[in-house]
Amino acid sequence: MRIFEPHAHMVSRVTDDYERMALAGVEAVLEPAFWVGQPRTHVGTFLDYFDGLVGWERYRAAQYGIHHFCAMGLNPKEANDDRVNAAVLEQLPRYLEKDGVLSVGEIGYDDMTEREEKFFIAQLELARKHGLPALIHTPHRDKKRGVQRTLDVLRDVAFPMERALVDHNTEETVPLCLDTGVWMGFSIYPDTKMDEVRMVDIMRKWGIARVICNSACDWGKSDPLKVPRTAQRMRRLGYSHDDIERVVWHNPIDFFAQSGRLDRAELDKRPAIEGELWEGNSILRGQGA
């Protein structure tokens, strides 16, 4: 089974995770820019982080045969921080033009503040300008109202619904999104927000159209194998190979291909690694010659 992991914060993971993901069938990951667990106090740390996403992280993933893509954006938590918010927004255009940047994100609401809304809308405009879809975080508290307000904003600014991936859905928010045309993301966690059993129950109830599952694996308790585990759960409940592949491979690819920067033929090849046989570099040790 080929797997496209559409939301993974790989900067927080060790190489063992990449190896396990590759063994479980993950061939591509998309890493959305988010906060890093602790507030950043100046724009430079954002830029270093963005540079790392398109630089070292892409290289690291390639060692395990995994294609690394990302989404760039000012996350909703730090959209509230006047030390960084405007300056990050100003720097985004160059990052939104990078190869491998397939979306703006994560953007959206966290506490549903005025500042969050201002930078959410500004970044939807950037998405339009740079021809990118939008990966949208939704609040973990006051979830239903947060999702509803997200959908209202998308409608208000006439953002094309099929170019929006509204993430972190639950049983309660699916009915809100279902008929709007947005793609529905689900972050499968070890024991809190959503798990693979509930996830497959949701699919049985509402279908698999525009459903995108991710592990969101980050610096908190999380599991980078949650998408393969969801696929396994689907198989146990009798889903066909094609249906499983639709959810864990084609759906995320169909969504992110709207960027015009995702070459499906490239996905069939192993990612290029320059200087693959570098002898001195420990991360390459044991591979190749």
Binding site: D51, R58, R94, E97, G275, E279
Partner: protein, 281 residues
């Protein structure tokens, strides 16, 4: 538009899709007249012109293009256009694009340095080269040090030694370092010899292309070591040793009988040719 711009564009035209060339020409005009921001144009170059090999064995402005890709050439052309607009800030601009670039952008910025106006005399692009020397990403290091005259023009001797050593360490050919014969010195030769000893102690192979460079300013004991390698079963090891010995024999006629002794038994034609040569120093 200078000869250099025209040459680059001609090479790009031969290797890039027509719509990519058209896009590039629009971007070049926009960067030249200030209507487009190079920082925003630079990242998307490879998506438009491609990222395959440039396919040129030419040397342009003293820069060998053999390892260049199409996007490297397009990014160099864009930097040249920006350099005409900001003649005093061209190197700072290249360094800035390097710093915030992905791997392809970084190689483009590094390779463009040697083509910028006043490149042989202006060291302002060095911060990018020095940064690239610290990376573990092969293509970035390669773009900074191999076939890049800018690094060889401007790196201070200590840093230049380290660049040569890292080239050897990562298994790249030292002969791709521009002006290596000119800049090699006794300290470099000593470092290369110690590197070889470290590899020998670890029972790992020694890259044979270091011996000719070490022989330009030979440390004591080198001749004997190379005579040993001349008996190595692997022909590439004998070629490396013979290349060094050809240099050493030019200054030390006592080596001649040993080379002739090997010549009698040597089957590899390349090694034989080297053993007959006696380079003068």
């Amino acid at each position: 538009v200078t000869d250099l711009d025209a040459t680059l564009l001609e090479l790009i035209r031969a290797a890039a899709p027509a719509e990519g060339v058209e896009w590039l020409q629009g971007a070049l005009a926009g960067v030249a007249d200030g209507t487009q921001d190079l920082a925003v144009v630079f990242p998307g170059v490879a998506r438009r012109v491609g990222r395959g090999g440039l396919g040129s064995g030419a040397t342009v402005g003293g820069v060998p293009l053999a390892a260049w890709r199409v996007d490297d050439a397009a990014r160099a052309a864009l930097l040249l256009a920006a350099a005409r607009r900001f003649p005093d800030g061209a190197f700072a601009l290249a360094v800035e694009l390097y710093r915030h670039g992905d791997a392809r952008e970084k190689t483009g910025a590094l390779r463009a340095l040697a083509l910028l106006p006043a490149a042989p005399s202006d060291p302002a692009g060095l911060p990018a080269i020095l940064d690239a020397m610290r990376t573990s990403q092969g293509e970035i290091f390669e773009a900074a040090i191999l076939d890049n005259p800018y690094a060889s023009w401007h790196l201070p001797q200590h840093e230049w030694h380290k660049a040569v050593l890292k080239t050897v360490f990562v298994g790249q050919p030292v002969d791709r370092i521009v002006r290596i014969d000119e800049r090699a010195d006794a300290a470099l030769a000593q470092s290369l010899l110690e590197f070889a000893e470290e590899r020998e102690a670890a029972t790992r192979a020694v890259p044979p292309d270091i011996w000719r460079i070490a022989s330009l300013h030979p440390p004591r004991g080198l001749a004997a070591k190379l005579l040993g390698y001349l008996e190595h079963p692997a022909p590439e090891q004998r070629r490396g040793a013979a290349a060094g010995l050809a240099v050493l024999a030019g200054a030390d006629p006592r080596l001649r009988p040993f080379l002739d002794d090997r010549l009698d038994r040597e089957r590899d034609e390349t090694v034989r040719a080297m053993l007959r040569t006696q380079e003068s120093r």
